[in-house]
């Protein structure tokens, strides 16, 4: 598992790590039983704060994706299945409705994109601070 950090992404570092683990799980690059790199290994490569790594692993542990085995390390517990197609379809419909509303209000594509991006960031940020 190779982590990387993008300082310009606007996302807190620990969330980037969480995302990368989830992404790897989704793609099957990480399987249950695999060991995640130790905090020491991660910071030795990325030169980030060790607490950031601990926080990311705690978040993943809270989501039930990984588990800490004392004395051994952090291991993947379960994999992430993709979202069900049913929920995908429903979300798509809602999105289409919202888009129609936005267009009716007079927003053009750029406005919509800006609004959407700000909302995503805010949601992610609020999640992090909580």
């Amino acid at each position: 598992m190779n982590f990387e950090v993008d300082p310009r992404s606007g996302l807190p570092t620990y969330l980037q790590l969480v995302q990368q683990v989830r992404h790897a799980l989704r793609l099957g690059l990480l399987q249950p039983g695999d060991q995640l790199p130790t905090a020491r290994e991660v910071v030795a490569k990325l030169a980030i704060n060790p607490n950031t790594v601990h926080k990311a692993y705690r978040e993943l542990e809270r989501d039930g994706l990984v588990g800490v085995r004392p004395g051994q390390g952090t291991f993947v517990e379960r994999s992430l299945t993709g979202p069900g197609y049913a929920s995908l379809g429903r979300l798509r419909q809602k999105l289409a409705a919202w888009l129609a509303e936005a267009k009716a209000a007079g927003l053009d594509e750029e406005d919509i994109e800006a609004l959407f991006r700000a909302a995503v960031r805010q949601a992610a940020g609020q999640e992090g601070v909580a």
Binding site: T38, A44, K45, L46, A47, P50, N51, Q122
Partner: protein, 299 residues
Amino acid sequence: MSTAVVQTRRLGRRYGARWALRDCSLCLPAGGVIGLVGPNGAGKTTLLRLAVGALRPSAGVITVLGRAVTGRPASLAAVGFVAQDKPLYPGFTVAEMLRFGARLNPRWDDALARDRLAGLGIPLGQRAGRLSGGQRAQMALALALGKRPQLLLLDEPAASLDPLARRQFFQTLMEAAATGQMTVLLSSHLLDDLDRSCDYLVLLSASRVQLAGPTEELIAAHRALAGPADRVPAIEVQHTIVSAEANGRLARLLVRLGRRPIHDPAWTVREVTLEELVLAYMSHPGTSQPTQPNLEAVQ
């Protein structure tokens, strides 16, 4: 919250008529990496030297690891220090520098220091005066880490290093911090390094503390606003404005949040980056955070 590693109460240091550090009250938590940021001459070096006992306070009190700072072996043993110019004895070889460490520190881990240097490819027979800038920094760090300190102080460690050496230095430093037994307190005016590596920030400006707190909390407590200039007074009533600029009708503010969130939809609100936060405070030296509540009670 873990125990405090450094506590100061109205700490000050004077040189003649000039106060290098003034009215500094801090409570720094153990176990993480604390960043000390501020412009040159703001008092960062003074604070670090007060913490290690190289200076005595002119006013106020400082305790480190629960003990008064005395300059005696008992309080020196637990604190490591890497000065800004990474001093070494130029005529000594690397091996002799390690011997220096071993002789002057009863709690010295020679194997650890040697492994570290070997891993970095620094030859033991090389004269300390002939090491490259990056190697000197690593040598100075290895010396400080070899005594297994509980608190490691670094004064502008990345200042004179090229980008590669700087990256390698921080990799080594963070790895050492990851062992968990040590708190790191480093000063810098390079915000990128602090952003990556620090989880607690102290901003010193004009010899006073402007900001102190966990970086996450500091960022969460501030917002960057963009909106109509005529709505600024309304914001001002509820929140503290740290910096503001106006361009015609558009105003950009950096505020410290009050009790209520910002509801006014006229304002675009986003989170601040650490760089924006630090720059905003540094350019307005009059603003500062309210005094930390746990110290007020003691007064």
